[in-house]
Symmetry: C2
Subunit: 220 residues, 2 copies
Amino acid sequence: MLESATPKPSLSEGAYSEIRQALVRGDFEPGQRLSEPELALRFSTSRSPIREALVRLSHEGFVERLPSGRVRVRALDILELEQLYVVRASVEGLAARLAAPRLRTIDLEQMEKAQEEMERCVRKNDAVGAIAAGQEFHDLLLRECGNQPLIEVLSGLRARISRFRAVVASLGDYDPERAIEHRRILKALYQRKAEQAETEMIRHVNRSAAVLMGKLRKRG
Amino acid sequence: MLESATPKPSLSEGAYSEIRQALVRGDFEPGQRLSEPELALRFSTSRSPIREALVRLSHEGFVERLPSGRVRVRALDILELEQLYVVRASVEGLAARLAAPRLRTIDLEQMEKAQEEMERCVRKNDAVGAIAAGQEFHDLLLRECGNQPLIEVLSGLRARISRFRAVVASLGDYDPERAIEHRRILKALYQRKAEQAETEMIRHVNRSAAVLMGKLRKRG
DNA sequence: AAATTATTATCTGTCGACAGATTAGGTCAA
DNA sequence: TTGACCTAATCTGTCGACAGATAATAATTT
């Protein structure tokens, strides 16, 4: 979602992003086997592009290879989610700290815009919109952290987490507290208080984690 | 290096680890083009396993795909190294913090052993041995952090960094200060002081970074 | 000789094929 | 009905092939 242009729309690339999107949306059941011929049929390609897509997805933790070589959708283990969030909190805190002195006026304006959109959605009780605006907020911040490996790591973590989030997306009750935390982060960024931005971000991510895990424990 | 058993010694897997090892050792020049047919010949396989290996290596940041689709060995950009170390310091600090309350007696014993080996090598002026023992120290700690995504992230960062390290490995002058820092970390772990272990680890990684980058700036 | 164009050699992305391994399905015995 | 066993259908890992694209080389012109 953070990557830019498409220099070559290869079939592999297409298959990868479509399958990944399907996984994030929950179109495939956890535990479900994904057969290469079947996916190839579905995407009207041969197995080669599918294979590459699955190789990539397995290294990214979306699917796993059985000893037989078959691929199945990874289970949504709540313990894994917790671990993902532990790393994410730390790494996204770092991103906030690094971004704080780097954000240009235009970046802060965009974040302000995303923030206001989020607050508007919260008032309208529009959970889907609030979540989208919230992600935009995080995206904008990450993009300006100036550290490419960090961007890659965090993008990967966020993508893996979003699979879990999709499970309870239908619940739709977005906690307005998240918007308040975002506002605190933004304030620290305005004031160029890097450490504080980091602390607030870590707190925010941890609370998001707690809320999501709570929902999952109830439903899933 | 941290992963365990080999359930299936596939050609892809073999090609991957061999090419990766070659990259880490610096057998391939930065910027060098890697052609699939050539590598296939070298490993006595068809292009398929090579292709999978290269796909993986490109996502791990060892090689990059040109717009033409060709693959070349990524340049050793010192700015990238710096960024890698920034993330690594934070993440490895987290690993230390998480491991602190989890390490069993046997783990601490093994770390003590690695530490003593390192100190022995330092006294004997055996840089290669000291580096190896130092890596063992970090490996042992990471293995017991209890967070799989963290292990994956940190392994990836360390592997990418080791390419840079290989460039100046021939210099061989290992700074004994590193061993002292390890000892501080270990002490904090013995005392189950998680925060302190984290702080010491971050400091240690940052100093390693500074030393390595200093060497690179002189030579590279 | 330098620049430019034409020609040739490679390379990548993708495809279909095949063998060995695995799974699913069905059969028969208890 | 349950369980062991056998058979058939899939699937994966790997291979070679081909077209279109790219890079390298030779030919040609200035």
